[in-house]
Amino acid sequence: MNTRLLVIAATLPLALIGCQKAQYVDPKGNDLIVNADRMNIQDWNLLADQVVQSMVNSGVLARLPNQPAGVLLNPVINTTTQQFDTDGIMKKIRIALLNTGRCEVIMTAGPGGRAEDKIAQDAQALKDFQSGKDNQVNPNNVPDATLTAKLIEDRARSGSMRQVAYVLQMSLTNTTTGRAVWEGEASVIKQGQRSSVGF
């Protein structure tokens, strides 16, 4: 009995710490790896959440023309030292905007005539042709508002401590007036030793 208890006592910490090499973690939890010198997936969430909260809190979405307003998004200008797919951030913002019910993203038009969804663009053109409107600009493709975004980075160092800041700047423009009706900025700042990893 006593021996059994001692064995349990000795093995319990090991069992709880776990000997496994890989595991699933909650993407919204606090067990994600944090790199002090690069952008992590939770940074995308934090940046997107800040700008969406700011945009929705401003009340500007309810004032956009033609509810739900058609929105076109410009490609993100990424001036950070990191190469990554900025859709990681922008898709979250698009989902959040669509969920508000105040906006819809235009998929059949884009900068330079390059639609995001080419199949939808062709289908729309066919429908316009069948209805005899192919010689007119489809008003559904004219955005009521556009979004621009820029991602910048700042690095600082003091001794062995390094700091990196990622800043996402966004503007929402009403295309009827041509004026920015909302601007927001979100930032994430991390400190740590070089290449240090935290949880």
Binding site: N2, L5, K28, N45, V52, L61
Partner: protein, 149 residues
């Protein structure tokens, strides 16, 4: 054949078991969450009654909710502001997350919801805010965690 001193060994084994459990607790982190929800309709001044489930007393000392206000933005989207007070004499950090659900209590997923780490200075009151991810989201739950990233 000698008889083993069973009683002392049993006691020491118990202590070892407790010690091991404590060690395991430290190693894996005894980071229980404190959660808060609204319990009634909004008052005339915008405040709402709320209920806190405290499972982590230490965390509650540095992130104690003193008031909750609710409002509406964009015509149909609920928003909430929570005032949090730290009773500590040193700067503290904690993490929080808002989770939203519809009138039936079903979770409404948010693409941007995440655990956010904040710093609170001694005896300071800060305000945490959140906007519902959609007009269907009318209930919220605020979770505090002591461990931050």
């Amino acid at each position: 054949m000698s008889t083993a001193p069973t009683q002392p060994l049993r006691v020491s084994a118990r202590f070892a078991l407790i010690g091991a459990a404590a060690l395991a607790c430290v190693l894996v982190g005894c980071n229980t969450a404190n959660t808060t929800t609204a319990t009634g309709p909004t008052n005339a001044d915008g405040t709402v009654p709320f209920k806190q489930i405290i499972t982590n007393g230490w965390l509650n000392y540095k992130a104690n909710i003193v008031s909750v206000r609710e409002g509406v933005v964009n015509g149909d989207m609920k928003r909430v502001a929570v005032d949090v007070y730290s009773d500590q004499l040193t700067t503290q950090r904690f993490s929080y997350r808002f989770d939203w659900s519809d009138a039936a209590g079903m979770p409404v997923q948010s693409a941007t919801a995440s655990l956010t780490s904040v710093t609170i200075k001694p005896k300071e009151t800060i305000t945490l805010t959140s906007v519902a991810p959609s007009p269907q989201a009318v209930q919220w739950r605020l979770t505090f965690l002591d461990k931050q990233y």
